[in-house]
């Protein structure tokens, strides 16, 4: 560091007004002159002059004190220019620098510290040593963020993490250093926001010298770099999925690209690369035929000599929803219950209803030829074998199934529910099909069983009442206010016919008969992925007509049917639980899921607020339950669940509360997914060009190249020091000396 003096100056800051000082000075002169005049006669003019001069000096010094004179001096100090060395430590730097040799990070390290891969960048000495001798060197690791390094950390530095933004790093360093040297393979910024290499926001006052590492010519890789698919699709409607396949080093090669739905191969296409570095967009057509979550993946098999094979596939979750809810209603006979239910379902524009009514049983006698009959054959095989999956909800209304369905059909229904379909059994004399319901495959699915031999009772009317579960359940919540809803159900018209059932362990009764002994009227449950419901009466139509009779409308019945369909088919709008999944979480990072649970805020008694017990479970792709955390987010019913996925794959997340449950799938992406680790020296060239720097090759002398960039760099600081004179002990000593001298001479000359 060198120092040079710039200037010294005096300044005054009087502690009393200046005019007062002038008066005092004049008074001092007058007193000294008068003293001279008085003592001249006794001591002679020489001695009198000396004494008066001393007095005047004292006065003058006191007045100088009052003037508060300061001396300000400025010195300029110069320091060597600061340069920043940014060492890319993102995960791509762990790949071989050339073929299967040392890593790109090793190459960068050797450039700095010296080694076979360093070339002649630093001259005879290692580059870092050479730079240290001339400049103030600041070393940084650039990964997801910019971190300052000690030189001793360099040998143990490991690659990892996403590429950070060079842009952001340079902005941070602007103004602090005169020059930045970047050692990188140029892939930083991938897997994160683009660095915007030609962005005008790059700092212009910070030239960047880039030293590329890695060898783009020998790098070989196939990357599925992007997958464009809608998050939500409609069942039965064709959609397009676009995948971008990028080749690095595979010229004149044809590779297969596969589209899979889960583990099922949907289609395969061939992609031919004509150039060494090329990206091709492949479009696939796909028609989801089942509602629910589909994990769509595009992949290509590993090629010979590929650097990374884990970026050969990419997955995305797509939820297939229904544009309309397809309901199959099979009624055992024409009845008021069928008609009112049909009218309610037809009233709902979101329902696509296909209904069959058994108009004639085998015991009925037909008395007209075929051309006079409107009866059509009941397409049992078509409905319950091939087409069953096309429906969202199957309803049996007082249907004696054993007459029409065989074991295979019943097993198909069980499988349909198990795989996510919905099934409802509506009551009546034939609901239990003469007791067969208990033993058939349907019995396994249903949430109820037979309570006694007589499974149907007619004659003694009974009202209904909500159970505690029914009071909180969304299906029976016809009115938002809990108490009004309770009253509404209590006042529903009586039912003239009831099926006498009992709730099984898997079922939850929402409505029960008001007369003792209470029998479950409306019972819900789940089987596999599907939901089931039983309505143990064939007189629910009276909830429509009976309410109209009282002067109200039939809205309660219509709403009940609508909510029944929506709950059974897992309409997210009615489910009390909703989840917000994180966007593209990655392995090794915590995944957070925000949940909203429709809690019963009024509490069971309608007065106190309660918080329901919530069960949050996470299952790994292998089905193993993982450690997870659940915490309340503050607002009632808002929760955050989290877990730590170690590996990529599809994880199942399940939330259960008293009012329902919800399960979702979550794709945890791999770190290398869509990761193109090909050295991108062009991007480094762009950075240098945009900042006025240059790209350095291994054969160049860095010190020589740096010099022009830092020559004009003025770096240093000005030291300014201000010393008030009155604070100097010399001034005080001078006053004391004047006074003491005068006192001494007076004594000596006989004046004391």
């Amino acid at each position: 560091m060198s120092t040079s003096y710039l200037m010294t100056r005096l300044s005054i800051a009087p502690i009393v007004p200046l005019w007062l000082l002038i008066i005092l000075l004049a008074a001092g002169l007058a007193i000294a002159f008068m003293q001279y005049r008085v003592i001249r006669k006794r001591l002679g003019p020489r001695k009198a002059f000396i004494l008066s001069l001393l007095r005047l000096g004292t006065f003058s010094l006191i007045i100088l004190f009052a003037l508060n004179i300061s001396v300000t001096s400025k010195k300029e100090h110069r320091t060597p220019p600061a340069i920043a060395i940014l060492l890319d430590t993102s995960q791509s730097m762990g790949l071989p620098a050339k073929d299967a040799g040392e890593s790109r990070l090793d190459q960068a390290r050797q450039i700095l510290l010296g080694g076979p891969l360093s070339g002649s960048l630093g001259g005879p000495k290692p580059l870092l040593t050479s730079l240290d001798e001339t400049y103030e060197v600041r070393l940084y690791a650039l990964s997801e963020s910019l971190r300052e390094l000690e030189e001793k950390e360099l040998p143990a530095l490991n690659p990892g993490g996403k590429g950070g933004s060079i842009n952001d790093a340079l902005k941070k360093l602007a103004g602090q250093v005169s020059l930045a040297i970047v050692l990188s393979d140029g892939t930083t910024g991938l897997n994160s926001s683009s660095p915007g290499l030609t962005d005008t926001s790059l700092p212009k006052d910070l030239p960047v010298l880039t030293i590329p590492v890695g060898d783009a010519d020998t790098y070989r890789d196939i990357v599925i770099s992007a997958l464009k698919a809608p998050h939500v699709a409609f069942r039965g409607r064709e959609l397009t999925i676009d995948a971008t396949i990028t080749s690095r080093g595979y010229k004149n090669v044809t590779i297969p690209v596969l589209l899979k739905d889960g583990s099922k191969l949907v289609t395969a296409k061939s992609v031919h690369f004509t150039r060494s570095r090329e990206s091709v967009v492949v479009s696939f057509s796909f028609t989801p035929d089942e509602i629910g979550t589909h994990m769509m993946s595009v992949s290509s098999p590993p090629q010979v000599g590929e650097s990374i094979t884990s970026n050969n596939s990419i997955s995305v979750l797509m939820r297939a929803v229904r544009d309309k809810t397809r309901v199959l209603l099979v009624s055992g006979n024409p009845s008021p219950n069928y008609r009112f239910m049909r009218m309610a379902l037809k009233n709902d524009p979101s329902v696509d209803l296909l209904s069959f009514v058994i108009l004639r049983t085998p015991s009925n006698v037909i008395n007209v030829p075929l051309q006079e009959q409107s009866l059509i054959p009941f397409p049992v095989d078509t409905l319950f074998s091939t087409e069953l999956k096309a429906f969202d909800l199957v309803i049996f209304d007082n249907f004696p199934f054993h007459v029409y369905l065989n074991q295979k059909h019943l097993e198909a229904i069980r499988e349909f529910v198990g795989s996510g379909g919905a099934f409802a059994l509506i009551g009546g004399p034939n609901m239990a099909d003469g007791g067969r319901i208990a033993s058939a495959p349907l019995g396994e699915v249903l949430p109820v069983g037979l309570s006694q031999e007589e499974d149907y009772s007619r004659g003694s009317s009974s009202g209904v009442r909500l159970t505690s579960a029914g009071a909180a359940h969304p299906l029976t919540r016809l009115l938002p206010d809990k108490m009004l809803n309770l009253r509404l159900w209590n006042e529903m018209p009586s039912l003239d016919g009831l099926n006498l059932l009992k709730v099984k362990g898997s079922g939850t009764a929402l409505l029960e008969s008001a007369v003792s002994p209470a029998h479950p009227i409306l019972t819900v449950g789940s089987y596999g992925k599907g939901r089931v419901l039983t309505l143990a009466t064939d007189f629910s139509w009276k909830w429509d007509a009976g309410m109209v009779a009282r002067g109200g409308g039939n809205w309660a019945y219509l709403r009940f049917i609508e909510r029944t369909v929506r709950w059974l088919t897992k309409d997210p709008g009615i489910d009390p639980i909703s989840m917000v999944l994180p966007d593209r979480p990655e392995e090794g990072q915590d995944a957070e899921i925000k949940m909203s649970i429709g809690e019963d805020v009024n509490g069971p008694s309608g007065s106190a607020r309660t918080r329901e017990p919530i069960l949050f479970s996470v299952f790994s792709p292998q089905g193993v339950k993982l450690l997870s955390q659940l915490k309340a987010s503050g607002a009632p019913g808002e929760y955050t669940g989290s877990f730590h996925p170690e590996r990529a794959g599809i994880y199942r997340v399940r939330v259960e509360s008293r009012t329902g449950s919800l399960e979702e799938s979550l794709v945890i992406g791999g770190r290398m997914e869509a990761f193109d680790a090909a050295p991108d020296h062009e991007s480094l060239r762009s950075i240098s060009a945009a900042t006025g720097g240059k790209v350095l090759s291994a054969s160049e002398d860095v010190l020589k190249e740096i010099a022009p960039f830092v020559a004009s760099a003025k770096r240093g600081f000005v030291e300014e020091r201000e010393v008030p004179l009155w604070s100097l002990p010399y001034a005080l000593a001078l006053i004391v000396a004047f006074l003491a001298g005068e006192w001494y001479l007076r004594r000596r000359w006989g004046l004391a």
Binding site: S335, R339, F356, S374, I376, N430, D544, A545, G546, N554
Partner: protein, 253 residues
């Protein structure tokens, strides 16, 4: 001592019990889901064919899967139980007293929210007697939904049989009329006296002769009766797309 009637009743019950399996299907009449409720009104003659139900209910149970009761109930329009009746029947010969606004409102609500009324003019003279009074009341209740002739492809003609001729005790009209609201016809009206064709005495003898078509006309009346009842219980079910090809093919046979 057991009377002969009690003995026979017990014997019948015992034999019926043997014939049904323990968990057999519910017998059709054991838990009927359908019955006819006839409207009583002031003035005129509300019950011109008091013995019509047995034959039509027997026909209904013989031909269809409808579980019906032979019991005929009667009701006035102001009784609260009106809304518990899925099928209202109304007939007459003569002009009846105008309904009160309360009666009209009750019937309107009943019919608007899913109820069904089959009405018959047993006299069969257009613009006279029951016909005039009934049309007057319908106009009051449904001022913007006038009674209209039901087209041949109306669901009521396809609900069970494919019907192309209108039967009855008399052949006044070759069509049915009705009040149509959207896809539902809550009121079906005939002047052919269908119930007159269905009426029989307790010994099974028909009470009225069907003119001019004789027994074929009576059979047509029964078929239409079955269709009207099935329509009242299934609405426009036969308009569902799945039925179209079958019905069209049979009509072309």
């Amino acid at each position: 001592m057991i009377s002969r009637r009690t003995f026979l009743r017990m014997g019948f019950a015992f034999s019926a019990g043997l014939s049904l399996k323990r968990h057999g299907l519910a017998a059709g009449g054991a838990f009927p889901q359908f019955n006819i409720t006839q409207v009583r009104y002031r003035g005129g003659q509300w019950d011109p064919n008091p013995q019509f139900t047995d034959a039509i209910v027997e026909e209904l149970e013989l031909r269809t899967s409808v579980s019906a009761s032979k019991e005929r109930r009667t009701i006035t329009l102001t009784e609260p139980d009106l809304f518990s009746c899925p099928f209202l029947y109304m007939a007459g010969k003569y002009e009846f007293d105008p309904w009160t606004s309360q009666e009209r409102e009750a019937l309107k609500r009943y019919l608007t929210f899913g109820g069904f009324l089959m009405a018959e003019d047993a006299m069969g003279i257009r613009g006279f007697g029951f016909d005039a009074a009934f049309r007057r009341e319908m106009k009051q209740i449904f001022p913007i939904h006038e009674m209209q002739k039901l087209p041949p492809d109306h669901s009521v003609f396809q609900s069970f049989y494919l019907i192309n001729s209108i039967g009855g005790r008399q052949k006044i009209n070759a069509y049915l009329e009705g009040v149509v609201i959207d896809n539902w016809t809550p009121v079906i009206y005939s002047q052919n006296d269908l119930s007159g064709a269905w009426s029989r005495d307790r010994f099974g003898k028909w009470l009225n002769e069907c003119v001019p078509g004789g027994e074929a006309q009576r059979l047509a009346a029964f078929k239409l009766g079955v269709n009207i009842i099935v329509y009242s219980l299934t609405s426009d079910y036969k308009k569902d797309l799945v039925h179209h090809p079958f019905i069209k093919r049979r009509q072309n046979l």
